[in-house]
Amino acid sequence: MRPQDSEVDALGAFGTAALQEAVTDATEPSDAELERLLARRPWTEPVRTSRPLVLGGLGFAAAASALALVIATSAPQGGVQPVGYGPVAMDLHMEQALGAQVVELGPSIAMSGDATVVLDQANEAGTTLTLLEGRAHFDVDPNGEWRDLAVDADGVIVQVHGTVFDVIRDGDDVRVEVERGRVSVTWDSREVFVTTGQSWDRPTTEVAAVWTPPSDEGLSVDLPSVQAQPVSSGQQAPPEGVADDSVVDAVPMELAEAVDEGIGTDEEPVFRVREGSADHELAQVLALQASGIGAADLLVETDQVLGRHRGSGVGTELELVRLQTLARVDPNLAAVEMADWLDANPGASRAPLVRFERARVTHRALGRCASALRDYRELADRADDIGARAAAGAGLCAAELGHNSIAERYFADALERGITGTLQTEVQAARAALRD
């Protein structure tokens, strides 16, 4: 029998109406928070423009412009009429041989090779085609429109959202070779991910490959043991100049297993993250960031995932990872992109963090103290950790520019606010140098 209203009332958690009111008030939005939110006006969000990738740049544009050949114009059956980029360069549902030509399958997919294929669908919902025979090469822009592509080669489904790869079919033999990025290969209800420089052959016998988890050195969490996974066979050395992605792939796969088990502790809720979900992909990227892998590898991986999630909450998290990582690879471009991000997201709560990162890269990597000082000084007014670190940065920049009295004030402020670690040491040394 369920409790009645009067019984429920008697079970009040607060004891007094005054405490109930105080608890309610404590979680009421403040006027300042409300004003900030209202200023954001979500229906007038600026359109985010995709930018060219720094690493793993696509050969798509070149490929598409080189030998684009329009075979025929045909509206997808039951699909969305292609608009805005020119015709899909193949008939639907017809067996066609590729010659020495690059065929545009929408605005983001270029196909070439010596192969016979059937195009099943090509519209903004995705492009699907069947590889009947031969080798087909695909170049998919991870940031472009209509980038979802699935290739069916005798029941082996290769799915991508932006990468460069080949699928080869010779009778029953199917092989996938990835030049850049990562593709999902599904066959017989099994799935593997094949990454840059790797190839995969459909097993002819059911031999379960045993995957040895990589060292988790650098990971700050204890990860449970990992189930054996079907893995790519015939792995080849990555092409010269391309980073070996084995770590890039392996660490998040390991994490993904842990995430699937649920994350959390007795003290907090346990969250389940569905395999293949946006959160799952975010977890993979964050695990990479936490693992301390090279910035170039992390940037490639982040860009790929970001291409699928722009505009969402996951996308925002990924944008932050990308900007932080880009700062390690190309500080000039990072500063420009951070400025763009701040222009596009003026009211975002992450804006102070991005602004601090911009100040830091401008100061540390580019040596432009005057520019950095402006950001630092405004951020130093904040009462949080960003403010304290910005005060330290303002002091260092002011000292470098010869504004000694200003530097001294910021140094004192930063130290009083409890900066720690190497930043504390640096500030103390700079302060001592000033006094000398």
């Binding site: 608890v23 969490v221 907090e268 998290e317």
Partner: protein, 197 residues
């Protein structure tokens, strides 16, 4: 309050003035849900922003059969759930420590330190509840909705709401005591009672 046919028509057709009015009318409520349901590890303004971004993307499909607040609450629940999961992932991979890493706009110098501390104490107490219990307690005890109203918003029978509220209050009372909230000076003066930080 239900929308009039004219208001609904203006909203679903994307009339900027109607959208602005709708936004202003519901922003505080959604922000409050984000604070109370999201907990200390997520940014309430980002949550609320995303809720409205989703709402306005889908508004052409809103038929007005449900109260706008009910519709927004359903969206908020989903957005909060996603944000909490992402925050948990960041903690899991070691990118955030505990629940105090995310810089909050409330940390600005213009905000009241005591208000911030109190909010955090309540949020930490709310974290001790199961999600289903937290939702009921927030809707009924912190927002003063009736059980039938809460049942409608949560999509469960009223009996379930009563049952959840019963257990939610018991857990919340215990959590408030542990966090020092029950020793707050509620006479209007601010007392330094310590509690969880």
């Amino acid at each position: 309050m239900a929308l009039s046919p004219e208001e609904l028509s203006a909203l679903t057709s994307g009339d900027p003035m109607a959208l602005d009015q709708f936004y202003r009318q519901h922003a505080r409520r959604v922000l409050g849900w984000a604070i109370r349901l999201g907990g200390p590890a997520v940014d309430p303004e980002d949550i609320a922003h995303e809720v409205f971004a989703i709402a306005f993307r889908k508004i052409s499909g809103f038929r007005g059969e449900a109260q706008p607040s009910t519709w927004l609450f359903v969206i908020t629940r989903n957005v909060v759930s996603n944000a909490r999961r992402r925050a948990a992932i960041r903690r899991f991979v070691g990118l955030e420590n505990g629940m105090d890493e995310l810089p909050s706009p409330l940390e600005g110098v213009d905000e009241n330190m005591e208000q911030r501390r109190r909010r955090r104490q309540v949020q930490l107490a709310l974290e001790k509840l199961k999600t289903s219990q937290r939702e009921v307690l927030v809707l009924m005890d912190l927002e003063g909705r009736t059980a039938p109203e809460a049942a409608l918003m949560l999509g469960v029978p009223a009996g379930t709401v009563y049952s959840r509220l019963h257990y939610a209050r018991r857990a919340f009372k215990s959590a408030l005591q542990r966090n020092g909230v029950t020793s707050w000076d509620t006479s209007g003066a601010v007392a330094d009672v310590g509690g969880a930080r």
